[in-house]
């Protein structure tokens, strides 16, 4: 029997040679033969759910995450199938996407563009995510949308309401199911005219950033068109928590409507301040003083509590909607989590299913194929009624809800009541509308990486 002499150097040398030997053939093949970024080659496909789990919109982010997990369950054929039963497209079979089991990774955007991009990049570079979904702020959505365009994956936006997402910052790889500020304004204006009259004087308090401006611009344009006068528009710093000093001048301005272009914690605080000043009981110009909050969410309504009684606003979706898709979704969500879904949860759920369905119909995960399948796609059964994914700007067109803080809420989830469902036709605009970047805005070309 021969004797082997194991020396440290000998082992290292052999190891190095063996390592190089193993690596050598791969050096030539590794320059990825994949046709597009993160082409799924195994038996599973990875989706990236990028939501705010810490920071001001954490509640919404966590609700979105619940909905996304539910969507994955339904795609994989677990649970009761949810909206797969009501969805008008029957491409999805409950066996994953294109036969591959759906897996997901999650990340924390912290509601900061930088952190959101870092998190999305790690999903794309490390976990091999083929689609990114989520977000609870327009700034974040636009930043991540740009990233996905560069990286060559599909971005399915979550809660983002600014006109810019599918306006001047629209991207070929980005899609938005949620409605936008222009639609809010177009839906609200006729209701405001009917309920409050055509000769009101409005005072705007606006959060001083992109979303606030686009919201204010839209509302002012729509209300002025029906005869309202905009008395003043005051920009409030985003970090404000006490709005008393902004509220006091409203009372002396001769305005009889206060429009709060605020969202999240800002809206809760400014509305509470306005109520504390007794505005809702005031009578100005022989009219009852009214408050309007253009963009509502259930979580904000819960935060503001009693104060939202009789306050008008608009929503993308509400769990009280009685169409088949909505009933099915509320049932699935409620049975699993013991509460009705929020507006943002629904949009993320729908986006995940829409993406999966587009892959099935396109027969590929290639972002360009998926984008083509989504463009001009008409569907129903996901909770919002009949919906169109417009090809020109990747924006969904569907009915918009005008809601009002419930006068007599029967339980803690019943804080808002639906005043009217504004038909999609009434909120539709031209793709080159000046508020959406005009003629200059373009999707660019789709990028498959």
């Amino acid at each position: 029997m021969s004797k082997t002499n194991l020396t440290r150097r000998g082992v290292l040398k052999t190891g190095a040679v063996a390592g190089a030997g193993v690596a050598l053939p791969t050096i030539f093949t590794a320059s990825s033969a994949a046709a597009y970024t993160n082409e799924p080659t195994g038996s599973s496909v990875t989706l990236g759910f990028n939501v705010p789990q810490t920071g001001p919109y954490a509640d919404e982010g966590n609700d979105e995450l619940l909905a996304q997990q539910l969507a994955v369950e339904h795609l994989n054929g677990e649970g009761d199938g949810g909206c797969l039963n009501t969805f008008t497209s029957k491409a999805l079979k409950g066996n994953g996407i294109l036969g591959k089991k759906v897996e997901f990774v999650t990340g924390d955007t912290q509601t900061k563009s930088d952190a959101a991009r870092a998190s999305a990049k790690s999903m794309i570079e490390k976990d091999g995510a083929i689609m990114i979904n989520g977000g609870s702020s327009s700034g974040v959505a636009i930043a991540v949308q740009g990233l996905c365009q560069e990286a060559g994956v599909i971005f399915m936006a979550g809660l983002t309401h600014s006109n810019d997402t599918t306006g001047k910052d629209r991207k070929a790889n980005g899609f938005r199911h949620f409605f936008n500020a222009y639609m809010s304004a177009a839906a609200l204006a006729p209701i405001l005219e009917k309920e409050l009259g055509a000769d009101r004087r409005a005072y705007h308090l606006t959060a001083d950033y992109t979303w606030g401006w686009s919201q204010q611009e839209s509302i002012a344009a729509a209300t002025e068109a029906m005869g309202w006068e905009t008395v003043n528009n005051v920009l409030t710093p985003l970090a404000s928590t006490d709005f008393s000093s902004y509220i006091a001048p409203v009372l002396n301005s001769g305005a009889d409507v206060l429009v709060l272009n605020h969202y999240g914690g800002n809206m809760v605080n400014s509305l509470t301040n306005a109520i504390q000043f007794g505005m809702m009981e005031k009578v100005v110009n022989n009219k009852d003083f009214k408050i309007v909050v253009p963009l509502y969410s259930e979580l904000m309504a819960a935060g503001a509590g009693e104060n939202i009684k009789g306050v008008f606003g608009s929503m993308n979706y509400n769990w009280q909607l009685q169409n088949e898709g909505s009933k099915q979704f509320v049932k699935s969500f409620g049975e699993k989590y013991g509460k009705p879904p929020s507006n943002s949860a629904q949009t993320c759920y729908a986006q995940t299913l829409l993406y999966a369905d587009a892959c099935e119909r396109a027969g590929t995960f290639n972002p360009c194929g998926v984008a083509e399948a989504l463009e001009g796609f008409e569907f129903d059964g996901l909770g919002n009624g009949k919906t169109l994914y417009r090809a020109d700007d990747h924006q969904c067109f569907k009915d918009v809800l005008v809601v009002k803080g419930a006068d007599n809420p029967t339980n803690q989830y019943d804080t808002l009541e639906i005043v009217e469902v504004t038909p999609a036709a009434q909120v539709t605009y031209e793709p080159n509308h000046p508020m959406f970047g005009g003629d200059e805005a373009s999707l660019g070309t789709c990028n498959a990486g």
């Binding site: 590794a30 789990q53 930088d114 990049k121 570079e125 950033y209």
Partner: protein
């Protein structure tokens, strides 16, 4: 070598080896194993490690040497990023002019901010810098992003649009920052068995810059100028009585560290051409303070370690969700599995801040000198264990006297 003593040369070489082979060190687990969750060797995170390392090294030149605790350094990082993106928008995607301008602009801002703030020391200095930085954040976030004069693009972040002039950017080139044709996002993936190692152009650019500025930092630490800065930290009054005016020295240190921050900002924009205002928020300024303290204030390598530590938690721990936990503990019986997941749940995913906070407290309480002190203690323990046979505990008093 290079005018360094033996110990510093060893340190520089160690850092060089670590940064050059980081793609290997940071991906120790095969990519299909359950432990792959802890791999940090993907381009974006590696870039972040190095960029925040540069930021923290610069911050340490001010805080570690002079003892002036600035709470506004993120402002320079942000200014640097904006400057770099403007170069991309107006002229070219080549990163060299962008990074140079980022450093210059950040240095100019730090002269202004330092000139005012350095009139006070201690807590007043910290508050002044904090106020300046918050002011600049507010300017970037809303004031300077109004439709009439849009310098920062507000909440969305400054980015390059197809209709920007980009005077020297030929149409034949891709729309991404590059170094004379080498694109920052190009990655070569080496597959060795089940392992995958990513070699990214952008990362290596950052790593080379890190080495250069690390070398510069060593020279500053060892120079007479560095000695003056240390003198300011130990007793500024005495320095005044000897007839020396410390203010030019503190201002120089402030500007140098501001320029480092600008360099980090410029690199950040070069890796990812978008500059957001949150980069300038006070939490970002606080983060670099944490990095420096966590790693070891006043040490050379400490801030880099601290930066790596914090970025690792932010990016790796925040991505561990319940599904991942269940996968890990799937071998346990059902009830026990749920219980273990329930126990760990608050510390991962959205609870990453909590874990980081606890670790930070532990480090500050038990290792006041930061991670570097931890390393030194382990080193000493190993050494003394080897020595204990012949010399025994007699050496201890000598070591304490260091």
């Amino acid at each position: 070598m290079l005018g360094l003593n033996k110990k510093d040369t060893t340190l520089l070489i160690a850092v060089a080896v670590l940064t050059m082979f980081a793609p290997f060190f940071l991906n120790p687990f095969p990519s299909d194993s359950a432990m792959a969750q802890f791999n940090a060797g993907y381009p974006d995170l590696m870039q972040r490690f190095v960029i925040f390392g540069i930021f923290a090294i610069g911050f340490n030149i001010l805080f570690g040497l002079t003892g002036y605790l600035s709470f506004g350094h993120a402002a320079f990082l942000g200014v640097g990023s904006y400057a770099a993106v403007w170069i991309f928008k107006l002229f070219t995607y080549n990163v060299v002019p962008a990074i140079i301008l980022a450093v210059i602009v950040a240095a100019v801002f730090s002269v202004l901010m330092g000139y005012v703030s350095l009139r006070r020391s201690g807590i007043y200095f910290s508050i002044l810098t904090l106020a300046f930085a918050q002011m600049m954040f507010a300017l970037a976030y809303s004031v300077l992003s109004n439709p009439k004069f849009n310098l920062t693009n507000g909440e969305t972040g400054l980015q390059v649009y197809p209709n920007d002039p980009q005077m020297f950017h030929p149409d034949s080139m891709q729309d991404f920052p590059h170094l004379f044709g080498l694109y920052m996002n190009s990655t070569y993936t080496m597959n060795v068995g089940p392992w995958a190692f990513d070699f990214n152009t952008g990362y290596y650019l950052c790593a080379v810059v890190l080495l250069a500025v690390f070398y510069l930092a060593i020279r500053i630490f060892r120079s007479p100028f560095g000695m003056m800065l240390r003198a300011i930290k130990s007793n500024q009054t005495r320095l005044n009585y000897t007839g020396l005016n410390p203010r030019p020295y503190t201002l120089a240190a402030f500007v140098i560290s501001g320029a480092y921050a600008g360099l980090a900002g410029g690199l950040m924009a070069a890796m990812d051409p978008l500059a957001g205002a949150e980069r300038m928020q006070w939490t970002a300024s606080g983060e670099v303070v944490l990095m420096t303290i966590l790693g070891g204030t006043g040490t050379l390598i400490g801030p880099v370690l601290g930066a790596g530590f914090i970025k690792y938690f932010e990016n790796i721990f925040s991505k561990i969700n319940d599904a991942v936990l269940h996968q890990w503990f799937a071998f346990l019986p059902d009830g026990l599995e749920d219980f273990v997941v329930f126990l760990i749940h608050p510390f991962v995913g959205k609870g990453w801040h909590l874990t980081l906070g606890i670790l930070f407290m532990l480090v500050v309480i038990f290792l006041p000198g930061g991670l570097v002190e931890g390393g030194q203690r382990i080193g000493k323990w190993i050494k003394s264990r080897g020595k204990s046979k012949d010399t025994g505990p007699k050496t201890e008093p000598a070591e304490l006297g260091e």
